[in-house]
Amino acid sequence: MAVTTASPSAPPDPHPALISVLDDTARTWLDESAAKVAADPAAVRRLFPAVRRRCGHARLDAYWTVDEAARAVLLTALPLRGQALADDVTRLHRHGDPAEQRAVLRTLPLLDLGDLALPLVRETLRGNDTTLIEAALGPYAAAHLPDAEYRQAVLKCVFCEIPLDRVTGLDTRADRELARMLADFAHERLAAGRDVPQDILPVVRAFPDVIGAELKHALTDRLTDILKEES
């Protein structure tokens, strides 16, 4: 119902892959559960938390685990849109354990929510759970998070040691200001005698003028050398 059309950054449709890994009992349970949710949205309250023990939680593909994908099937079965959908999804997130919250965050790009789920992304980014932060910074955040918050989110990943290749949209959303922030961060690291994480270098390299032009930093030369070495 609420599935948006595929875009280059949309996650894979979880249903075909799931069908191939679930056994008969789990598949029947999931199909029946999705039908119940489609007929009565309140049914999702009981079914959504039960997914892990009914369907398992192994990894399905690079984006989904089995439980996340099965929960996505239930969420996309909700016969709701706009604010009503956002309210239900928000309550599932509110009452969810970390696995349920990851499933909600991973499913956001498949739901017709506009900006209405941004509070869930923001709440996650205020927390310390790197698995949740990673799940929050998928295609939905890439499409909806305002520039300043997107930059802060990337910086938070650097601090939490979440590899930046797991953050969706960095290639199109990285801008000069983000490059400046990361260059500053690199300077701080160098000043403290610590290593600079390699995955920030492509962003900084894409905006070479952020080094030196405004940052008359004692360590500018060292950073310039690092950037050259790695390219």
Binding site: R45, R46, L47, F48, P49, A50, R52, R53, R91, L92, R94, H95, D97, P98, G127, N128, D129, T130, L132
Partner: protein, 284 residues
């Protein structure tokens, strides 16, 4: 000796307690949702508490080699406060979760019409979620309260073997075992029920369908009462097998009826966190 404490409020206990419990043989606990000694004034306080019973507390227990499960309910005391009643409408979300092995603590506190309603409704939820029910018996007017509780349990249609009536004593144990329900005993320091009286009850009524717990919480209580009861049983001539039955196999059998009691030794992991937070000090 392996011990399963089927009723203990670890949220109110310290890491020292966890260490002492592990050393005494405790390997699994069930923490029933209850009140905090001070009334909650809104449903949101319950949800944060339930989230803790399902999140932070199992994490904390696992760091000490103990498996933690919980029961979820609106407790009888707070069922009397209209501000808390909306919790009943959200219980579906929590009763469906993996580590929830029963509906509880439900039952009577002052035997009001509000408590009648909450008890009957939550017994129905137990039936719908295919869960056992942990039913507390009132501290005042206990015999009459226990009789009335058994009537409500019968009327609800739940199978008696899915119900434990807790905080029993010499006067209430007989009628509970006769009903087909399980009999729960909370061993407290000084008041209510002692380990020696417990041993006498076991001699008279046998070890079948009996659960022994510490019910330790924020009040004067002792999380090692399960072990002390086991020692008292051995001193009174019970064998190792009887002790294992009462303090391990019985609670496993009772809560195992939920289908969600996945017992596996937790491996304490210094680096583990819950939502990025840990019990270490000086770290995250």
């Amino acid at each position: 000796m392996r011990i399963f404490d089927p009723h203990i409020h670890m949220t109110s206990r310290t890491t020292d307690d966890y260490e002492a419990m592990y050393a005494a043989g405790v390997r699994a606990v069930v923490e029933p949702a209850f009140w905090l000694g001070q009334p909650r004034t809104s449903p949101e306080s319950f949800y944060d508490y339930f989230d803790g019973l399902l999140g932070w507390e199992p994490y904390r227990a696992a760091q000490f080699g103990i498996q933690h499960f919980c029961t979820i309910a609106l407790n009888p005391k707070e069922a009397n406060d209209p501000r808390c009643l909306p919790v009943l409408d959200e219980l579906d979300r929590y009763l469906a979760k993996d580590r929830v092995v029963a509906v509880g603590e439900i039952g009577y506190d002052s035997m009001t019409p509000e408590e009648d309603e909450a008890l009957a409704r939550q017994l129905q939820l137990a039936i719908e979620h295919e869960l056992p029910a942990l039913v507390h018996t009132p501290h005042r007017d206990k015999a009459a309260g226990t009789r009335r509780t058994l009537d409500v349990v019968r009327e609800s249609g739940i199978a008696p073997e899915l119900v434990v009536l807790d905080h029993l004593n010499e006067l209430t144990v007989g009628m509970v075992l006769d009903s087909g329900c399980w009999a729960g005993f909370s061993i407290y320091p000084k008041t209510k029920m002692s380990e020696d009286r417990m041993v006498e009850i076991l001699k008279e009524h046998g070890t079948e369908r009996v659960l022994v717990n510490s019910a330790a919480d924020w009040g004067r209580s002792d999380p090692l009462k399960t072990r002390k009861t086991a020692d008292a049983m051995l001193a009174a001539g019970f064998g190792d097998d009887a002790v294992d039955e009462v303090l391990w196999r019985n609670p496993v059998a009772f809560y195992g009826q939920s289908g969600r009691l996945e017992l596996e030794e937790p491996k304490p992991d210094e680096e583990a966190t819950f939502r990025g937070n840990s019990i270490r000090r000086g770290g995250a």
